[in-house]
């Protein structure tokens, strides 16, 4: 669980980001203006900041210059190459182009949290405990052996918990974009995970869409 500062002046989009990030277990603080964001960042620490480039009171980049030491993903309009260059020049960790896909956003957020070592170290659900950095899974204190592929798949499902991921998305995230597998591959691995870890109640099949890890 990470603490995320959402700087976006459009309430609709701010709420959208908050809804989805809280869904996967993060704690969010919304800011509708650059000034609010700078104040919030001065009062408390954050693991990540989502920053809209175009704010009513100041440029997003100005916020970035004031709020140091918080990994930042900035939100920009399509085709604004200069924004990207400027953002990266200021040390941004990633950017997301509007209109974005929610699943894509969540994956990017996780990627930045991982890169900046701010992701959760351990996850517990029921009698299951997973240590992400050690790649270890324990059930009732007993170690359960998972293949690296199964572990990656489980990691992605849990990182995006409560959000449905399509088979295509799971393939590209867990196997890599170069993998020429079929969506059937995903189904097989999901079955194995469910059986090995008794996660039948938590890994849900979503009709016509994919899979969702539910807590």
């Amino acid at each position: 669980m990470a603490k995320i500062l959402i700087v976006e002046d459009e309430k609709a989009i701010n709420d959208l980001l908050k809804l989805n990030l809280e869904m996967v277990g993060h704690q969010c603080v919304p800011a509708l203006t650059g000034r609010d964001a700078i104040r919030a960042a001065g009062e408390q620490g954050f693991d990540l900041m989502l920053l809209d480039v175009m704010l009513p009171d100041m440029e997003g980049f100005a916020v970035m210059e004031k709020v140091r030491d918080v990994p930042t993903i900035f939100l920009t309009a399509r085709g604004a190459t200069t924004d990207k260059v400027r953002g990266f020049g200021l040390g941004a960790d990633d950017y997301i182009v509007k209109p974005f896909e929610v699943a894509e956003l969540l994956v990017r957020v996780q990627a930045v949290l991982r890169r900046t070592h701010r992701e959760e170290k351990e996850y517990t659900i029921g009698d299951l405990t997973i240590r992400w950095d050690a790649h270890e899974v324990f059930q009732n204190g007993e170690r359960v052996e998972l293949t690296p592929q199964e572990f990656t798949l489980l990691h992605i499902l849990i990182e995006n918990r409560n959000v449905c991921l399509s088979r295509q998305k799971l393939l590209s995230e867990a196997w890599g974009t170069d993998f020429l597998g079929e969506s059937r591959t995903v189904d097989v691995h999901i079955q194995k995970l469910r059986r090995k870890l008794k996660l039948e109640d938590h890994i849900k099949t979503i009709y016509k869409n994919g899979y969702r890890f539910e807590e």
């Binding site: 709420d15 959208l16 704010l55 209109p99 974005f100 929610v102 869409n209």
Partner: protein, 375 residues
């Protein structure tokens, strides 16, 4: 690169090319006149000098011809004229550098950056005669002509480029702005739809997501209406006519009963529909900003229309936006035609719309007409 920027670059390039082509077409004959004038003068001068020289030598005693020639030609020293007359290796030369030109030719040559005009001739007495004239003055004249042409061309091209830029920028900006504005509702709608599809939401969250989708689609249709109005304002150049200000104000008062008005400028020359839409917008905003029942004042003074309210006024940020809608982001979305359109209507009338804080803290929107056409 955006389309209008491409259009701009291409048309500027084309204009510049045509312009330079024209400048060249105008300058080339002028240059050739200068050159021809200089060569003709040189040729005439050479003829006179050569003729005189020949006669002088004819009259000289036998064997004294060479010194006579020398004396005759030395007379020209320091006048910018140089000569060489040779026969079988013997003769006279005042040249400072070697020139080898076949007899019967004339033209320009350059030595150490200095321009000279030469005429090479054969005298009846058998001498090869070379006439060389310092043509620095002609050179300077030619350079002046070329520089003047290039400068004029560049200046006109720059002016044209600037005018074209303003034109294209002005025409394109509001549309691109609205297109940009569409992105927010689109992003929100897409995101909430995906969330509804993919996430496990509770009743309250589902309600929120669906409400946002409904709300944002209203906003989209509002933007689309504005685009349409903008398009119409731009395309339909309805001919201007006299507009009765009193009647215009009266009409607005019927819609907004709190409006009071004063008319000291009876007729504007303009588009009634557009002006009415502009005033309606300004008054609508003023009424919204005022406490319920507070008066909104409309005033027409020569070349000025003003809308005053006694509301709480705008923040500096909001004032910045309404005065320069192309530079700042809108603070809050609202219905209506929008500030960019108001500016555009004012512009179409050769007027300028400005917002300022009134004496009592309210807002004053002023439309000042600069164009003699409208006033």
């Amino acid at each position: 690169m955006k389309l209008w920027q491409k259009t701009y670059l291409l048309s500027t390039l084309l204009c510049a090319l045509i312009l330079y082509g024209c400048m060249f077409g105008v300058t080339a004959p002028a240059l050739s006149v200068t050159v021809k004038g200089a060569t003709d003068a040189a040729l005439r001068e050479e003829r006179v000098i050569a003729g005189t020289l020949e006669r002088t030598m004819d009259q000289a005693p036998e064997g004294r011809q060479l010194p006579v020639m020398q004396t005759f030609l030395e007379y020209y020293a320091g006048t910018g004229l140089y000569f060489e007359a040779r026969q079988d290796g013997a003769g006279y030369s005042s040249l400072t550098f070697a020139v080898d030109k076949a007899p019967g030719t004339l033209g320009f040559l350059r030595d150490q950056g200095r321009l000279y005009l030469f005429v090479s001739d054969k005298l009846p007495s058998g001498y090869d005669f070379l006439y060389l004239k310092d043509a620095a003055a002609t050179d300077a004249l030619l350079k002046r002509q070329v520089t003047a042409a290039a400068l004029t061309g560049t200046l006109v091209a720059l002016l044209m480029a600037a005018a074209l830029y303003i034109l294209l920028y002005r025409v394109n900006l509001p549309v691109s702005r609205l297109a940009h504005e569409m992105r927010t509702p689109l992003t929100a709608m897409k995101g909430y739809a995906e969330t509804l599809r993919d996430a496990k939401l509770n009743e309250e969250q589902r309600y929120m997501a669906a409400s946002y989708i409904a709300e944002e689609s209203t906003r989209l249709s509002d933007i689309s209406a504005r685009l349409l109005t903008l398009h119409n304002a731009k395309e339909e150049a309805t001919p201007f006519g006299p507009v009765d200000v009193e009647e215009l104000f009266d009409h607005i008062q019927q819609t907004y009963p709190t409006v009071t008005y004063e008319v000291h400028w009876p007729t504007i020359f303009g588009d009634r529909a557009m002006l009415s839409s502009l005033l309606n917008n300004l008054v609508d905003n003023a009424v919204k900003a005022s406490p319920a029942g507070a008066p909104v004042e409309l005033r027409a003074a020569p070349n000025v229309l003003a809308v005053m309210d006694h509301g709480s006024g705008m923040s500096d940020e909001a004032l910045n936006y309404v005065n320069h809608p192309s530079k700042f982001k809108k603070l809050h979305s609202s219905g209506g035609l929008g500030v960019p359109l108001c500016h555009q209507i004012a512009q179409a009338h050769g007027a300028k719309l400005t917002y300022a804080r009134g004496a009592d803290g309210g807002t004053v929107a002023t439309v000042t007409f600069y164009n003699s056409l409208t006033s």
